[in-house]
């Protein structure tokens, strides 16, 4: 089965795509820290941040619809945080003066905007580079190799799991003329168990094939990463823009 839903736009040629993954990891995570450090209830700077993020989306040639759909997936969690966090501040112990100094709606709004900005940056990161290159970048930036190997394998097994899910879905649908007559939960429960067992079995075979080619627990690197002048220019430029917004807006 063919899959391209995880790294759908990572193969597109764009300015961002040509950057070293380490550049993007460093720049985008720095931007997240800068945005998150905005004072509570501050909304005005987000006009400038959204312009900066919009420019990055355009530079990455990522369709806006795709970015919005990814934001929609995380929306329930973000909305819950945006609504509950101000309330929790209000009801936790003695009321602090600074909580009242900002408007509650502005507080919720700033949480919402911070979360969506961070999310858009992560979507940009994962959509402008292949997952394995990002992992390489993280590894060379000091991520523990065990964590890197686990992430690489997890990424591989997502496809196995999805393969099995699609197969069992087809098997179920092909024998379901009309509406499902049995309890949907029962069927889905059995299906989930079967997907897990089959995936476990296939994961075992994948491991055997790795062993048969000399796997000893470490993933040898074949292609290295290259840091160019354009990466340095991007980091400095992006950092300056984000800092200026943070300080002066």
């Amino acid at each position: 089965m063919k899959h391209d839903y995880l790294d759908k736009y990572s193969g597109l040629d764009s300015v961002l795509r040509r950057l070293d993954p380490r550049t993007k990891i460093f720049a985008f995570f720095s931007a997240i820290v800068i945005i998150v450090s905005e004072p509570k209830g501050e909304l005005f700077p987000f006009i400038f941040y959204s312009v900066a993020l919009g420019s990055l989306i355009m530079a990455g040639r990522i369709p806006l619809k795709f970015v919005l759909s990814r934001c929609l997936i995380a929306s329930p969690f973000i909305l819950m945080a945006a609504l509950l966090l101000p309330l929790s501040l209000l009801f936790s112990g003695p009321i602090k003066s600074d909580v009242f100094s900002v408007n509650m709606a502005a507080l919720s709004g700033s949480i919402l905007l911070k979360a969506y900005s961070a999310l858009i940056l992560v979507v940009l990161l994962t959509s402008t580079d292949k997952f394995h290159r990002l992992l390489k970048g993280l590894r060379s930036l000091g991520m523990p190799s065990v964590l890197g190997a686990m992430s690489a394998l997890m990424y591989r097994y997502i496809f196995i799991l999805n393969d099995e899910r699609l197969r069992t879905n087809r098997a179920r649908e092909s024998r379901t003329p009309g509406r499902l007559k049995i309890s949907r939960f029962k069927v889905l429960g059995h299906q989930a168990a079967m997907i897990f067992l089959r995936s476990w079995d296939r994961a075992h075979t994948v491991y055997q094939s790795m062993l048969s080619r000399g796997f000893d627990g470490s993933f040898p690197e074949f292609e290295g990463l290259a840091f160019h002048r354009r990466d340095l220019v991007f980091i400095i430029g992006f950092f300056i823009i984000m800092s200026v917004i943070r300080i002066y807006a």
Binding site: A152, F159, T205, D216
Partner: protein, 252 residues
């Protein structure tokens, strides 16, 4: 501690016995495969064929001896044996786990501690051999099944093993790809072991065939000798003579 390869047999199994829990899968199997021979192992489902294959490079370890190119499989020789025996799994998705075709082929070579520049050349040569030129940067889960099957073979071929063992190489392939695979297998510069339920392609590319059932080898012989033993084939649910009738009916 590399041992000499100048023995007449590529693969020798002596009384290999293995069980999954209480279910006996191999019962004292002995076998000798000559250098550069194309050797087929046929048998019904559950005969123990794939289990036997996994013993060749130590993925399963039972009782008895496994000797590859004169080197007995032991804990201390495991790494060397794995260099000498390449396994091609039935499902290519089980074999391809790296992000790109190039890195999948490089995986085994890097584990053999080969220089990266040499690896690059080996990858190019192997892809050319498998008619997969230009596939270096492709992601395996974006390829067709036939292409993935060829990439899976390429990952093993690149390691230049002395023995290549195939598990059901002809399953899920269209007739044209099977024909192409038979040609590829015939031209390989290695000893080849093929485990399959599909007799016709095995007949087409093997010098000798072993018939296996219920964990034992019942007969070893040339393709003609095996096909002549109809009783044995019927007993092992391997009789394919009805295909001849089908052909006859439709050609006349």
């Amino acid at each position: 501690m590399p041992e000499p390869k100048n023995c007449p047999f590529s693969v020798v199994l002596e009384n290999v016995t293995f069980a999954y829990g209480e279910n006996s899968a191999l019962k004292s199997v002995s076998l000798e495969v000559r250098k550069q021979e194309r050797f087929g192992i046929i048998g019904p489902s559950g005969a123990g064929k794939s289990t036997l294959l996994l013993h060749l490079n130590g993925l399963l370890r039972g009782e008895g001896r496994v000797i590859i190119e004169g080197l007995e499989l032991r804990k201390e020789t495991l790494a060397e044996v794995r260099k000498r025996v390449g396994l091609v799994f039935q499902n290519p998705d089980d074999q391809l786990f790296n992000p790109t075709v190039e890195e999948d082929i490089a995986f085994g070579l890097l584990n053999m501690e080969i220089n990266k520049e040499k690896i690059r050349i080996m990858i190019k040569d192997t892809l050319r051999l498998m008619n997969l030129e230009g596939f270096e940067g492709r992601t395996s889960h974006h390829l067709s099944f036939g292409e993935r099957k060829r990439v899976a073979l390429a990952t093993v071929l690149a390691m230049q093993p002395d023995v290549i063992a195939f598990d059901e190489p002809f399953s899920n392939l269209d007739p044209a790809t099977i024909k192409q695979f038979i040609k590829t297998i015939k031209n390989l510069d290695a000893t080849v072991l093929i485990v399959s339920q599909q007799i016709l392609p095995v007949l087409a590319c093997c010098d000798r065939i072993a018939v296996m059932n219920e964990g034992t080898i019942l007969k070893v012989g040339s393709p003609d000798e095996i096909m002549a033993d109809k009783a044995l084939l019927e007993k092992c649910r391997l009789d394919v003579s009805f295909y001849a009738d089908i052909f006859k009916n439709h050609l006349s």
